[in-house]
Symmetry: C2
Subunit: 415 residues, 2 copies
């Protein structure tokens, strides 16, 4: 049994590391994502009944319904969601990946990323910009709506046109290089955003020769901050994690997600079943004027980056994160090193310069997590109970869902 599991985990690791995510397109979810309908709203975490959604995640869903024109106001949205007239599903059921609350509606454009090594597709919608009040942080107001419309109507069409002229932008080379430039590709994407901008400059220059203003607006949106790449990293991670799912007898984690109720994982050998646990406590650095009691959970699936060997699993590549989310460089190195004890192998292409280019710990083995008691570490943005981002921090996954997953694993595979 052990040897069958080991072989299965090697295969999952091979798929994680042989994956080749390529950005192919930017299109509205309704056009790009199979199974999306006009009345679909996606949100982070395992799908739950409408009544189970609370706080910022609930507020985000209501905001999404209004933005999409599925309801005139929050009350009508409440009614339609309760009646099932608006279809609510977890992002990952449709190959998508949600940032924080992770709200997707039909008209929202998504990055279309193909894992060319295994042919599967994944999607992520577009970063809302630097305003701390954002739909994915549970806020919907005029400013949020205008920014989302700007993405739909102005940014995404140009970006899509530029991407299509390239014939596809391979993301792995950008990601590998960004890890040598201080990014963890979850909470820090400063270098990757610039590397992506470099890829898209020339196509945008060509578009600009025909329509300067459109191209100029796109350039501004891509380069005005340092987070643009996060959604590409997330889409890439989803395309990689999905390729490693459904390996019979593998105990490797193939998905992780938060929703407002808790944390959940999937194991590769156990199909699409989620194993849920409580939330974890977070070590956070909060923006000025905010306090710990404001911290709230409204979902989040960007931790798929950790699932594929990035984020917290590459934190020793990203010492500048100490300012954003706290912790000393020494603690970051120690935490990063501990994660080699719960993973299958070292990533051949994602490397950490400070660790003499050692590959990041990749492929979380649920057995190793339970045996060692070492929980996966994740770099996350922190939401406040009144909506909006209030800081950033480090969380450890709760061990309960790993134990639950192992119980199901034993029930299915014995041993």
């Amino acid at each position: 049994m052990t040897s069958a599991r080991e072989a299965a985990n090697r295969e999952a690791f091979r798929r994680l590391t042989a994956s080749e995510p390529v950005l192919e397109d930017v299109r509205p979810a309704i056009e790009a994502v199979p199974g999306f309908t006009r009345d679909t709203i996606l949100t982070s975490g395992p799908t739950m009944p409408w009544s189970a959604y609370a706080g910022g995640q609930r507020a985000g869903i209501l905001g999404g319904a209004q933005f999409e024109g599925l309801a005139r106001d929050a009350q009508e949205a409440e009614r339609k969601l309760a009646a099932g007239e608006i279809r609510l599903r977890g992002c990952q059921e449709l190959g998508c990946v949600g940032s924080l609350a992770g709200i997707y509606t039909a008209s929202m454009p998504v990055f279309v990323v193909r894992n060319t090594a295994f042919r599967n597709l994944a999607y992520c919608n577009i970063y809302e910009g630097t305003n701390r009040r954002r739909l994915n942080y549970g806020v919907y107001d005029d400013g949020v709506r205008d920014r989302l419309r700007y993405i739909n109507d102005t940014l995404a069409p140009v970006l899509g046109e530029a991407v299509r002229t390239t014939g596809g932008i391979p993301l792995k080379p950008l990601m590998s290089r960004a890890l040598h430039m201080g990014d963890d590709l979850h909470s820090r994407n400063t270098a990757a955003s610039l590397l992506f901008a470099r890829e898209i400059f020339e196509p945008l220059l060509a578009l600009g020769a025909r329509n300067y203003e459109r191209a100029q607006k796109a350039v501004r949106a891509i380069t005005e901050d340092h987070y643009f790449f996060l959604r590409l990293s997330m889409a890439a991670a989803k395309s990689i994690a999905d390729a490693a799912a459904h390996v019979d007898a593998s105990s490797v984690v193939s998905a992780m997600a938060f929703n407002c109720r808790g944390f959940a994982i999937r194991l590769s050998g156990l199909g699409d079943q989620w194993f849920e646990g409580p939330h974890a406590s977070v070590d956070a650095v909060l923006f000025e004027g905010h306090t710990k009691d404001e911290i709230t959970w409204m979902g989040g699936e960007s931790i798929l980056t950790e699932t594929v060997g990035l984020g917290g699993f590459a934190q020793a590549a990203a010492f500048p994160l100490q300012k954003y989310q706290g912790g000393s460089p020494e603690a970051m190195v120690e935490r990063n090193l501990s994660l080699y004890r719960i993973t299958v192998g070292e990533h051949p292409d994602f490397q950490i310069p400070f660790l003499r280019y050692r590959g990041t710990p990749t492929g979380i083995d649920a057995f190793k997590v339970v045996e060692t008691g070492i929980a996966p570490v994740m770099n996350i943005g922190v939401a406040g109970r009144d909506g909006g981002q209030i800081g950033a921090g480090v969380v450890k996954a709760p061990l309960e869902c790993f134990s639950a997953a192992l119980a199901a694993y034993s029930a299915r595979y014995g041993g």
Copy 2:
């Protein structure tokens, strides 16, 4: 006496750290650099008589004479240089800074950088590109000539036009940020080159709307490799170091330079006098197919970056350099830490994330160098005796020139 020296060194340190280099223009040396003439050639290091130049540096000067049309061939160039019909001077005499052999001729475009805090100007010509055979590595052939012409005729005019439309690009913010992204701003400029590309892209987009092809060529040249920013870092360093020169009674190093004969420094309190010493041995990583006996010295003033607290003085910000020039991360940290013992203070804006954002050691005090026996450490490119770059490495400055400078300092200031 000691207290006058300390006060003077604090003033030199203040000037080093309060400097604000801003890229203002890109123009031919003959137009931009006061004192440049049609028959001037600049080269790295203290000015020497023509007969003293040897090897790659001599070859580079002969190549420059031909490129500029000052001589039809090497023989004629030799004759004119010997006769003084071509005027040969050290780069730093004219506010310029030479990369390796550091050849400047009248038509070559230079970055014009103004230190707006102290009003002084500095200049550096433009990176020749990724070809290992380059004029500044002592090679002159058809390929080198064509590339230099391309810079003169195609790249620089567009770049200059774009830079002028910005009204000036402040370089210090880009440099500060690049240190958080794995650059040392001497041997690694990967992040800074991207950050600069981001600054220049919008102006290029506007030019591209009128003339697409010109703009597209400029974008290619700026983004095709990761070294473009080095010349801007050098010009910035020269503008900073010059601002800290000529502080009466200061023992802070205000310039460092190699030529083919050896290494030399200036002290702030001793004007423009160079204090010369032998070459140092280099710990290098050579490109495949090259051997240690090929290593040769043909000059170099990019070590002005070390003079202002960058390069070797920021190596713990740039762990990826271990691949390019050798050494472990631990050794880089240890070397970097040792340099705090020979410097006046910690730079308020140039910081090292791994050292918990400690400022880089800045302002080399010649007294501290001689007292501790700790030599400044510099990250450099390595030239081969047949011309061209053959690798990169770390050198320690020879202590002899510091002793010589202190003797002169005592003769002048007593004590």
